[in-house]
């Protein structure tokens, strides 16, 4: 009876009342959670003893924020979402979607005007508004530009959706050129254009593309063959160390060692594959995790070869197919051969195209393999292992090829990573990396190459961009360092995206093999990751 009375009360309560109630609950819980961690801070005093520093103000702010967010969500967010699903009686149509309401033409023009105006007066902002207010103005300008860009994307969404792959590759190909040209125009000189492009090409372009490639490689194991692999970073490490050791000791070039590194990683993939053939699901997951940790621990402890935790430095750079080099001291240094000014940016741009080519190779091989017997066997294995065996598919070779192929691309990415950094150490191959790569595969929608690329761009680019958010210092004070919150936000974003789209960004998949006609199946009807 009590339950029914409770339910009736919930029914009759207005959203505001419910919001207030929920906000009180949320406040009480968050007070309990944060009381010790935000309210008190452990700190060392002069004699190196731990003392507690109270921060009740901060605690009050955080708890207050949680309450407000919860209240707004329950009192306004939920009823709004419910209304969006109700058809208007008079017109028989659903209400306008949030997108169409948010991106209106007048708003778009206004945003453009504001951005342009603030751009023109950029130099004199400090003079007019004073330093503090000018910071907010720049923040406002950034928002206006983001809004305008988002509106453009929104208006052309059908077109973008239809030609996503072609557009995506096109954008990726012209990205470094665009950055250099844009920065040249802004800064007024070609040299500073190249110099300024370093950050954008290296931190964003190359960084994201490495993760795209790794996630596409892992996708073969997890997304296609359905084998849950928590130690993928081991193959990345094998590739990186293969290149680092062979290049520093034997002096072989990158172009010879790239296939060698891929081959060695594939070999280790098979080595891992053999013992785990009989394991399923979570047993498989823990053994792959253990394998990743074993490789990392061996790299740390086998000091004679790997130089332990200090890592290997002085790894040679990639050459331009042996024709030109990127070392300033070499006689065939690219700037000397072509007769242009010296810059470190050429190497980064070259590396960008190299990793782009490697990533596209991974995608191409994946797409082609899916149409071949082995790819179809992988997908069959993912959907149902018993049926697979009943049909005469050799599950041993199927699993081993999946591990080997996935590992090979990990090895390619690893040797590229070593060449790009010029330095490798076991620090780069911790479990967190495996977890991030797996998260990208799952968030993208397992098996979907486009979804995975989008997930990598959002997750890696999103956390990288935090480093650029200087304007946040205006809001939170000069001591505020956004980088500190990078991994915290990454973890929270993983949870939120998963709750919002449990199937990943691209949640439906089209069968590779079909009878009569191709029908997209919602992936909620398929099972995956059973290993």
């Amino acid at each position: 009876m009590a339950n029914i009375a409770q339910a009736m009360r919930d029914e009759t309560a207005t959203p505001i009342q419910r919001g207030l109630k929920e906000a009180l609950y949320a406040g009480a819980i968050s007070f309990g959670l944060f009381f010790l961690f935000i309210g008190l801070r452990t700190d060392q005093n002069i004699s190196n003893e731990l003392i507690l520093v109270p921060r009740w103000g901060l605690l009050a702010i955080v708890v207050g924020l949680v309450m407000i967010v919860r209240f707004v969500y329950v009192a306004y967010g939920q009823p709004f979402m419910a209304r969006q699903k109700i058809v208007n009686v008079a017109s028989g149509l659903l209400p306008d979607s949030v997108g169409t309401r948010f991106f209106r033409l007048p708003y778009f023009i206004a945003a453009l005007a504001i951005a342009a105006a603030l751009m023109i007066f950029a130099g004199s902002l400090d003079g007019i508004f004073g330093a503090g207010l000018a910071g907010y103005m720049r923040f406002f300008r950034a928002l206006a530009i983001i809004y305008a860009l988002a509106s453009v994307l929104f208006y052309f969404r059908a077109f973008i959706h239809a030609h996503f792959s072609a557009l995506g590759i096109g954008v990726l190909v012209i990205y470094p050129i665009f950055v250099v040209v844009a920065l040249t125009l802004i800064n007024g000189s070609v040299a500073s254009g190249f110099q300024g492009s370093l950050k954008w090409v290296d931190n964003f372009g190359i960084q994201i593309l490495i993760y795209v490639m790794l996630a596409w490689g892992l996708n073969i194991v997890v997304g296609l063959a359905g084998l849950l692999d928590l130690g993928y970073v081991a193959f990345y490490a094998v590739g990186a160390y293969a290149y680092a050791l062979l290049a520093t000791h034997l002096g072989w070039s990158f172009w010879i060692l790239l296939p060698v590194a891929g081959f060695m990683a594939a070999f280790w993939g098979v080595m891992l594959g053999f013992p785990v053939l009989r394991l399923r699901g979570d047993y498989l997951a823990i053994v792959t995790l253990a394998f990743g940790e074993i490789i990392r621990l061996v790299l740390i402890n086998w000091r004679e070869v790997t130089n332990g935790a200090a890592g290997i430095s002085g790894i040679p750079k990639v050459s331009f197919f042996g024709l030109m080099s990127f070392n300033v001291s070499d006689p065939n240094y690219i700037a000397k051969v072509l007769g242009i000014a010296q810059s470190g940016a050429y190497y980064k741009i070259f590396l960008y195209y190299l990793i782009l080519a490697l990533a596209l190779l991974t995608a191409f091989v994946t797409i082609r393999l899916r149409r071949m017997p082995v790819g179809r066997a992988w997908e069959a294995l993912r959907e149902d292992e018993i049926a697979c065996r009943s049909l005469g598919i050799n599950t041993t070779t199927t699993k081993l090829t999946a591990f080997a192929t996935g590992a090979m691309f990990g090895g390619f990415a690893g040797s590229f990573f070593a060449a790009r950094q010029g330095f490798v150490s076991p620090e780069s191959f911790v479990f967190l990396e495996s977890a991030i790569i797996l998260a990208i595969v799952v968030l993208g929608g397992m098996g979907s190459l486009v979804g995975i690329a989008v997930a990598a761009a959002v997750m890696i680019g999103g956390t990288e961009i935090l480093r650029e958010m200087e304007f946040l210092k205006v809001v939170f004070g000069p001591d505020f360092t956004p980088e500190l919150y990078r991994m915290l936000l990454f973890g929270v974003a993983m949870v939120i995206v998963m709750l919002w789209k449990p199937r990943g960004f691209v949640g439906s998949r089209e069968p590779t093999a079909f009878l009569h006609e191709r029908k997209a199946i919602s992936s909620s009807f398929t099972k995956e990751g059973h290993g």
């Binding site: 309990g32 013992p275 047993y283 797996l438 990454f490 449990p502 909620s524």
Partner: protein, 300 residues
């Protein structure tokens, strides 16, 4: 011989801590079939809460008996850590319960990253040392046994007895075992499945908090990143013993503890983790569902 027995004692201590954490993994796995990756960080939170409580207590009371100290630390850590795990389950795992298998795994990994970084951001990245709480060492026939080790083993045994009683003799334990066997049928028979799962998470967190408190007392130091390694070891222990089996978790924990202390005593301390992981792989090759795990019956 003395050396061997000494290592046994050390292994038993370590194994007790791993076993306490492993039970949380195995219970959650048994009831909802999910690897709770954040459990290692729940353990770290428990240790951190114990640390903060210790600091509060030692700034208020100057001379109180150390057992009382430990008891208060343990109880507060259990309550607060349970609150964390309860909230996490409600926010991050429950909405995905009907979803496909990897979705809760990914939110668990996300939660693990978020929790350890939350502690890093709020409490700072440094190691947090405390002055030694218990320093008595007994010498029995040339084997030194510290009071800390005795406390750890006694607390573990007492908790296991309590736990065994809860799972085997109470209606709550019956509900848990029913949910483990068939969640839908249990719901049809009037068991509140959501509540039972919540309680399972709370119980797992409470045990992890005790393990965290004992860890803090034993090593005297904790840092935000301390959740990962014991978490992975405990998970390894749970799998080794057969995931889903409670005695298996304790057995696996003790095995991992023994392997580690024996390996570092007789071979090399550098490769102790490699040894633990390799033995896991070897055992699983011959017993694919762990030592005490029930073999999975494949149904078509």
């Amino acid at each position: 011989m003395q050396y061997f027995v000494q290592q046994m004692v050390n292994g038993l201590t370590l194994g007790s801590i791993y076993g306490l954490i492993a039970i949380g993994y195995t219970m959650v796995y048994g009831i909802i079939g999910m690897i709770n990756f954040a459990h290692g960080d729940i353990f770290m939170l428990g240790a951190f809460i114990a640390l903060i409580v210790f600091l509060i207590l030692s700034s208020i009371f100057v001379s109180v008996h150390v057992v009382l100290f430990l008891l208060v630390m343990m109880v507060v850590a259990m309550v607060m850590t349970s609150l964390y795990n309860w909230t996490i389950e409600k926010v991050a795992y429950r909405p995905l319960r009907g979803s496909f298998r990897l979705a809760p795994l990914i939110t668990a990994i996300g939660m693990s990253i978020a929790l350890s970084n939350f502690v890093q951001v709020t409490q700072g990245p440094r190691n947090k040392p405390i002055p030694p709480m218990v320093s008595t060492v007994y010498n029995v026939n040339g084997i030194s046994i510290s009071l800390k080790q005795i406390i750890i083993v006694v607390v573990t045994v007492a908790l296991l007895a309590l736990f065994w009683y809860l799972v085997n003799k109470t209606s709550l334990g019956r509900a848990q075992r029913a949910c483990e066997q068939d969640r839908k049928m249990a719901a049809l028979l009037g068991i509140d499945v959501d509540r039972t799962i919540s309680i399972t998470f709370v119980m797992g967190a409470a045990l992890a908090a005790v393990a965290g408190t004992l860890f803090l007392m034993y090593y005297g130091v904790v840092a935000f990143s301390d959740g990962f390694v014991p978490g992975v070891k405990a998970f390894t222990a749970a799998v080794l013993g057969g995931i889903g089996s409670l005695p298996g978790a304790m057995l696996g924990g003790l095995m991992i503890g023994f392997i580690e202390s024996m390996w570092s005593a007789y071979f090399s301390i550098d490769y102790k983790d490699v040894a633990a992981f390799s033995i896991l792989a070897i055992v699983l090759i011959f017993l694919p569902s762990g030592i005490l795990g029930r073999p999975e019956v494949e149904k078509v």
